[in-house]
């Protein structure tokens, strides 16, 4: 039982890092534009399929590393296109962005179904990602097995979080993003090109999702609807974390990952999801603004 709990603590971290990768982009976009991007999951899917194409073309060893770049850039470009063609024109109408991005999600899913078929594809892993770290640990059934792929995802998520934090704190774009998040009109008055910042953030959010898609593909199949499975927990993470706070998003991802993983020690996956939802509902009853409360003019308005 102790081994099981230990394993589940690790799995909780792992699930948290995946949810975080899915939630970061969503949180950025929502924090800045108040746009709920229903097609966010489809950028994950796009990243997954780009990883599948990269590994099919280049082989697993080089493919996985190349796909990290290809998927994030590819998804970012797709995100920029979506922003320019659809989202930008609907910014003043939140309900319409909701519907338009949902429609877009359906279109992208069908496109993937037509291109790759409805059955999920597998991204082949290089040897260094498919084993466990420390075979001696994994040798007997009681020991703790740390899959290399999960360790890699954990490290990647931590790195992305760190880089994003530094970028928001210490770059001009980061400064502009924070300024627009806090007070759009004042930022515009001070000469910040709000539209360009929005474009950059939407592309950045999509790119992060694309990167997340590659990480998902290390654990499971890439299917046309893979994004749907991850976008709901991602929404939960964003809501639980409190809007407009990276730290809150990270903490919420961790909290939800651990709740659902530890619930699985005693119940099935389906029930564990139920437990997680109940937890979020109860938590929001007690703290409606989420884990971290951010004061912002945009929110006050």
């Amino acid at each position: 039982m102790d081994a099981l709990i230990g394993a589940q603590l690790f799995n909780g971290l792992s699930v948290a890092s995946i949810n975080l990768m899915a939630a970061l982009g969503l949180a950025l976009v929502f924090g800045l534009m108040r746009v709920i991007n229903m097609a966010h999951g489809e950028f994950l899917m796009l990243g997954g399929y780009l990883a599948f194409l990269s590994t099919s073309l280049l082989g697993p060893a080089a493919g996985v590393l190349v796909s990290l770049l290809v998927a994030s850039v590819g998804a970012a470009v797709a995100g920029a296109i979506v922003h320019l063609l659809v989202v930008r024109h609907l910014l003043a109408r939140p309900l319409d962005t909701l519907l338009a991005t949902w429609g877009l999600a359906l279109i992208l899913q069908q496109l993937a179904r037509d291109l790759f078929g409805p059955i999920g594809v597998e991204v082949a892993l290089p040897a260094w990602l498919s084993g466990t770290a420390g075979e001696s640990l994994a040798a007997d059934g009681d020991g703790l097995a740390l899959p290399a792929s999960r360790l890699f995802i954990l490290a990647a998520a931590a790195a992305v979080l760190g880089v994003l934090h530094l970028a928001l704190r210490h770059t001009r774009l980061g400064l502009a993003i924070r300024a627009v998040s806090q007070d759009r009109m004042m930022a515009a008055a001070l000469g910040i090109d709000v539209r360009r910042v929005e474009l950059a953030v939407f592309a950045l959010g999509a790119g992060l999702a694309g990167l997340g898609g590659v990480l998902l593909a290390l654990l499971g199949p890439v299917t046309p609807t893979v994004g749907q499975a991850y976008v709901v927990p991602a929404f939960l993470v964003v809501i639980l974390g409190g809007i407009g706070s990276l730290g809150g998003t990270a903490a919420a991802a961790l909290l939800l990952g651990l709740v659902s993983a530890l619930a699985q020690v005693v119940v099935d996956v389906a029930i564990a999801q139920l437990v997680m939802l109940l937890f979020v509902i109860l938590f929001l009853q007690l703290r409606p603004e989420g884990l971290v409360v951010t004061r912002s003019r945009a929110l006050d308005a």
Binding site: M1, A3, L4, A7, Q8, N11, S14, V15, G117, P118, I119, G120, V121, E122, A124, L125, S130, G131, T132, E135, A138, A139, G141, D142, A145, P147, A148, S149, R150, L216, L218, L219, G220, P221, T223, T225, V226, A229, A261, Q264, V265, D268, V269, A270, A272, Q273
Partner: protein, 422 residues
């Protein structure tokens, strides 16, 4: 107040619109009737014109099940064309009416009724998921028509209006258990997708494992399409299982196998026996992910018989040299031949006469080998255990000594029930 005034002001206009709409609707209905009677007139000469006989082919051609079911439709149509080329049935050509069940049980029921009542088909070949079969069953019982069902299933059902050619649990799951026991496996972990087939299959497995004095060390379910097996894998590790019996459906298997391998338990170290991975699924997912795992079916493409070689050759001539064949396709194919044999034995297309004749036929030659239908309208057929190779084909490790009699109701899990369609 203002609202009411506005409404009444709009009144006459609205009425006019409504009247226009009704008129249009009536016109449409009339046109529809015209079309319908024209079709019926054609239909009247259709099924019984002495030249052709209409049969329904009802599979999902769209939606999530399409990838699996389109192949079964193709195998069914292959058999129909072969029979037509050889002169048809009772001197008539078979005229297939193909419909799309759209991966939706309600649409399956609706299309089954359409095929029987409008197209007046004499029998229907189709269905895949148990949900689609359960939805169609009342339609076939009400109309007295006959469905030929090609997929392995959980048993526990017995209708005189269905010919069950897919494996009953004792023709797939239990032979696999017997084989695993022979191999010295003692501690079983049962994992499945959360729906009727895995739940029922695992109930039957559990009863038989416990009756044999072996141990079920864990049982876990993941929602259909779920990809998070982290908890399941931890439980498998902690349970000390020496084999996993897997009824996970579809591409969730990619996640299961990947996460098992990631936790240091590839199929070479911890054997996995799957009941929902055939050649088609392995090919679509990428066979490498589950290579080395076991599967139990009544048919493998790698079966080395002249009948199977002919089947593969004929199918590939139409669908390309790389086309993959699998168990449900072979069943879909043999169902048409079995229907032909039964019609000829009965000398009639009448469904009720055909089904009675079908169970009296001594032997039907098929890609599976020689099979026949038992009195309970399920197929008497052999079972095999295979190991998935890197190329997506199965190496056959074990075959049942002979054909196995089908048992729709497992005596341990559902005692006291029997199936006598009469």
């Amino acid at each position: 107040m203002r609202f009411v005034a506005e409404g009444s002001a709009r009144g006459p206009k609205a009425w006019r619109r409504l009247a226009a709409g009704l008129a249009a609707l009536a016109a449409l209905a009339l046109a529809g009737c015209g079309e319908r009677t024209a079709k019926d007139a054609a239909g009247a000469t259709g099924p019984d014109d002495g030249a052709t006989v209409a049969v329904g082919v009802l599979h999902s051609l769209s939606g999530t099940m399409a990838i699996s079911e389109i192949a079964v439709r193709d195998a069914t149509l292959l058999a129909i064309d072969e029979i037509n080329a050889a002169g048809g049935v009772l001197g008539r050509k078979i005229r297939p009416v193909v419909e799309d069940g759209a991966s939706d049980p309600a649409i399956f029921a609706q299309k089954a009724a359409k095929l029987i009542e409008q197209d007046q088909v004499r029998t229907v070949f189709g269905g895949w998921t148990s949900a689609s079969r359960k939805a169609m069953l009342p339609v076939f019982e009400r109309t007295g028509n006959l469905l030929w069902y090609p997929v392995q299933f959980e048993g526990n059902e017995c209708s005189r209006n269905i010919m069950y050619s897919g494996a009953q649990p004792n023709q797939q799951i239990l032979p696999a258990l017997a084989w695993a026991r022979e191999q010295g496996h003692r501690r079983f972990f049962l994992v499945g997708s959360d729906y009727v087939f895995p739940r029922t299959a695992n109930l039957i497995l559990r009863r038989h494992i416990e009756a044999a004095g072996l141990e079920v060390v864990g049982e876990a379910y993941v929602p259909l399409g779920g990809t998070d097996f982290s908890g399941v894998v931890s439980r498998i590790r902690a349970s000390g299982a020496d084999i996993v019996f897997n009824t996970v459906n579809g591409d969730s298997n990619v996640a299961l196998f990947k996460q098992l391998s990631g936790a240091g338990l590839p199929p070479t170290k911890l054997p996995v026996m799957s009941f929902s991975i055939a050649e088609q699924e392995a090919q679509a997912m990428g066979p490498a992910v589950a290579a080395g795992s076991y599967a139990a079916w009544n048919y493998f493409q790698s079966l080395d018989t002249p009948e199977n070689a002919a089947f593969i050759k004929a199918y590939r001539a139409r669908h390309g040299e790389k086309a993959t064949l699998s168990d449900p396709m072979a069943h879909g194919y043999l169902n048409v031949w079995a229907w032909k044999a039964a019609v000829e034995a009965a000398g009639s297309f009448e469904p009720d006469v055909v089904r009675k004749a079908a169970v009296g036929i001594e032997s039907i030659s098929s890609p599976l080998g020689t099979v026949r239908f038992a009195a309970n309208q399920s197929l008497v057929q052999p079972a095999h255990v295979g190991r998935l190779r890197q190329d997506g084909q199965f190496e056959i490790l074990w075959s049942s000594p002979g054909p196995i009699m089908p048992e729709p109701f497992d005596p341990l899990a559902f005692p006291g029930q029997s199936c006598n369609p009469g």
